[in-house]
Point group: C2
Chain length 316, copies 2
């Protein structure tokens, strides 16, 4: 990969990421870009307090994936996981709907301890990444809590209550993002230096929007990068994973890459969609029709490479 590094190493890239889709694209990018030229900014809108612990599901998925310790079967948590603690919690009548593995718990315990010692979430994440052997900067979008709330037919629900406990089944009326959350200095610095921004195939409403909503990220994105390219989370008329298609339907929108690109609107300079949707995406901005499914490490590298190439082409 060293020759590939050479090609793009004079540019700085930022990847905006949610959970699994974001983690996979970030993993591809990490394998083709030098650490000093890549920053991954991660949604923390789905973070929550549970059992007194600060849990950051998207940050953890990205960290575990980049460290090569992610559980690929479940799509969350760590490989080789065991469940002694949460099973004992069940026996004690505690809350067991959020399946905390024994190894995964160590992350939440360590994070909660370091936060209690006064470190920022950014510093804690840096510490955890160092321990996990991750060289690329992984940044929470903010050091402040920024809880996404889901207004549903079952009432206003904390994100994880809707997403995990109720398996995203309650019909969504609106997604409520906080109005007063600011990006960390690290995030602002990364965006000020960014030549290109890649938006991962994450959920536009509950993964990417919380990042864009964090002040002043949307403004910096409008002004600064040479090009912003997103990849569609909708493939073959359905979400690859999670509630993106359901949310599009409940918003009265078409379930398509076109709808996602139009939702991002002026922010985008280019849009990537899957080959299964060939000839169905019609936009005024440049597009690429690619194999976007990231089953293997090679798939991740290929898509990352093609997105980087596309972005650089658009920006020159």
């Amino acid at each position: 990969m060293s020759d590939q590094h050479a090609d793009f190493s004079r540019y700085n890239f930022v990847c905006l990421a949610g959970g699994v889709g974001g983690a996979k694209l970030a993993d591809g990018l990490v394998r083709i870009l030098p650490p000093e030229n890549l920053t991954v900014i991660v949604n923390t809108g789905d973070d929550f307090q549970h059992f007194g612990l600060t849990i950051c599901p998207d940050l953890d998925t990205v960290m575990y994936t980049l460290a090569g310790v992610a559980n690929v079967e479940t799509g969350w948590g760590r490989a080789g996981e065991s469940w002694r603690t949460i099973n004992a919690v069940s026996e004690l009548g505690g809350a067991d709907w959020f399946r905390l593995g024994d190894l995964d718990l160590a992350t939440h315990l360590t994070r909660t301890q370091l936060l209690a010692e006064g470190k920022t979430l950014t510093a804690v994440t840096r510490h955890l990444c160092q321990r996990l052997g991750i060289k690329t900067a992984v940044l929470p979008m903010s050091n402040q809590p920024a809880p996404t709330l889901i207004d549903t037919d079952d009432g206003l629900l904390p994100f994880q209550t809707w997403f995990v406990q109720k398996q995203w089944q309650p019909v969504v009326r609106a997604i409520q993002l906080p109005t007063d959350v600011r990006a960390s200095l690290s995030v602002m610095t990364a965006l000020e230096k960014a030549d290109f921004v890649l938006i991962a195939p994450s959920n536009p409403f509950v993964s990417v929007d919380p990042i864009l909503n964090t002040y002043p990220i949307r403004a910096l994105l409008t002004d600064l990068p040479r090009a912003i390219v997103a990849v569609s989370p909708i493939v073959g008329g359905e979400a690859v994973k999670g509630p993106a298609a359901k949310l599009l339907r409940e918003k009265g929108m078409e379930v398509s890459g076109t709808a996602v690109a139009n939702y991002y609107g002026d922010l985008l300079d280019g849009f990537v969609y899957d080959q299964q949707d060939a000839n169905t995406v019609h936009l005024d901005i440049p597009t690429r029709c690619l194999d976007t499914m990231m089953h293997t490490a090679d798939d991740r590298i290929r898509l990352a490479w093609q997105m980087v190439e596309f972005a650089v082409e658009l920006g020159n």
Copy 2:
């Protein structure tokens, strides 16, 4: 044991307990007294917040012992324990000096969750005891936090920092108990109904004193029970376990049952000390010289039986 139950079932007993010694005597009492006639009041002065979790070491030791799931090898934690989470915490650079087992963690997670839901520590403990199959009432001395601080040559330390992290080695200048902690209603009700109070062979300074210091427990003990009997934690000139002998020395007191009984002073109506100390304890109150070492379940039952008998004798 049904004939033994019959003997004492018209009396109500309260046992004041710290950790291991308290748990063992309580276990003996539970095996000879009907649940409705016994209440165990447990020290919570060594409770602490760790990783965001509320940890109550003495309550846990008592609960695990009464439930038959205590780890008899370590003297703390649960039998059949595993250490996946805390080992992973070590790898992540988190605090690993307090060895939280995977099963033990479930107790702290469940307790912290239930406290966050607004339950009192008394209600949470009742819930955990029910789940663990414990029929006897086990009560925290208070629903309020009541942290014991240890003033040492290394500075003023939270109890568990001194006790576990520094293995109670720093020389103790003073033990600081909070001044504004009140007993729960359940504790006061139990003491108002109590005919006899048994003080377990727990540390007088850091296990029993925090209970006595909780308002208005000392006053209720002075007024109400027919007799109060303590058992010496000092055997053969040393503590059976933990820092009792070291604390006596550092207070300039003799390391003996006599010193412990004199420390409790007027509170006591009778005192039990070990056969190894035969002819060394000289007090103005009635004493019993017994085999107080509780190695086996039978030992616990025998000592509990003899203490109950002694107390009833003194009170009639």
